[in-house]
């Protein structure tokens, strides 16, 4: 089976997740070796996936954890007092 560019684009996400079967992976790898467009699409998509997973993208507000645990303390004390 020889695959074309559109076929590769349809499997980019699964390929990144290691969720394509071995024979398809071989075909995609073979295609990527000679297709600079698909290689760049694959690399850029993988780059986006790596970047958005970083904790710095969505920042937690300063003091969030302290305020949360302080509120929880009040709830915990209230419930232990009532039990």
């Amino acid at each position: 089976m020889k695959i074309d560019c559109k076929h590769v684009w349809g499997h980019i996400s699964a390929y990144i997740d290691g969720d394509v079967d071995a024979s398809l992976r071989v075909e995609i790898d073979r295609h990527l070796e000679h297709c600079e467009i698909c290689s760049a699409v694959m690399d850029s998509t993988r780059n986006v996936v790596v970047l958005i997973a970083d904790d710095r993208v969505f920042e937690i507000p300063a003091g969030f954890s302290e305020r949360l645990h302080s509120r929880l303390d009040a709830v915990l004390q209230e419930s232990s007092a009532s039990s």
């Binding site: 980019i12 996936v49 993208v57 645990h69 509120r71």
Partner: protein, 207 residues
């Protein structure tokens, strides 16, 4: 730990939920798009988790259970907002999605130079990524958050969203394609200079 908390060692609850503070906040921020509302909803979520801890049966992972409570909390806030005329409900409760028409072709390029993680020190880049994710329609934003940000597996994501595993994969594929299309032009400005070995770090890390 849950059994000990239920048996009276309630202070252990703080430690139990620490790893979930961030995923819960991010989920609520993505739903509510407002830090203050997300923080309030996160507090309400963890209080509900504590009060309902005895109902947790262990059928799902604890993290999945907590995130589903957070999601319901966030959707509840949105429902309340939608009753206010000045804040119409965005298309948040749209259903389906797999038949949705759209352009899911990636941006075509002939070469790509890696944008290293160090580039995230720059606020403009973080804001661009954040904005691109928030601009996705909700069905795509949900899967990006759970799969790529919270790193949940396909099965957990499907359970939490109440959709099939196949739908999770289709939505994630489309979402990643849309993000690639949206972001490549912006990201090029942050790329590693040609000849650098930055790509080794990128490919050393499996998505």
């Amino acid at each position: 730990m849950i059994a000990r908390i239920l048996a009276g060692e309630s202070q252990l609850f703080h430690a139990l939920i620490r790893p979930l503070e961030r995923p819960v906040f991010v989920m609520l921020f993505m739903l509510l798009r407002n830090e203050s509302d997300a923080e309030d909803a996160a507090q309400e979520t963890f209080i509900k988790v504590y009060r309902n801890l005895h109902t947790f049966r262990g059928d799902a992972k604890f993290s999945t259970w907590v995130l589903s409570i957070a999601r319901n909390e966030g959707l509840g806030v949105l429902r309340k907002r939608s009753t206010r005329p000045e804040e119409p409900l965005e298309h948040l409760f749209e259903v389906g999605g797999e038949t949705e028409q759209g352009d899911f072709t990636p941006a075509l390029l002939t070469d790509w130079r890696e944008v290293p993680l160090e580039a995230l020190e720059r606020k403009e880049l973080r804001e661009s990524l954040c904005r691109a994710i928030l601009n996705l329609s909700p069905i795509y934003r949900d899967v990006v958050q759970l799969r790529d940000i919270d790193e949940m597996d396909v099965q957990e994501t499907a359970e939490l969203l109440g959709i099939s595993q196949g739908s999770v994969k289709v939505r994630l594929h489309r979402a990643r394609t849309m993000l690639q299309k949206e972001l490549v032009t912006v990201l090029k400005e942050y790329a590693t200079p040609a000849g650098s070995q930055g790509w080794r770090r990128l490919f050393g890390r499996r998505a």
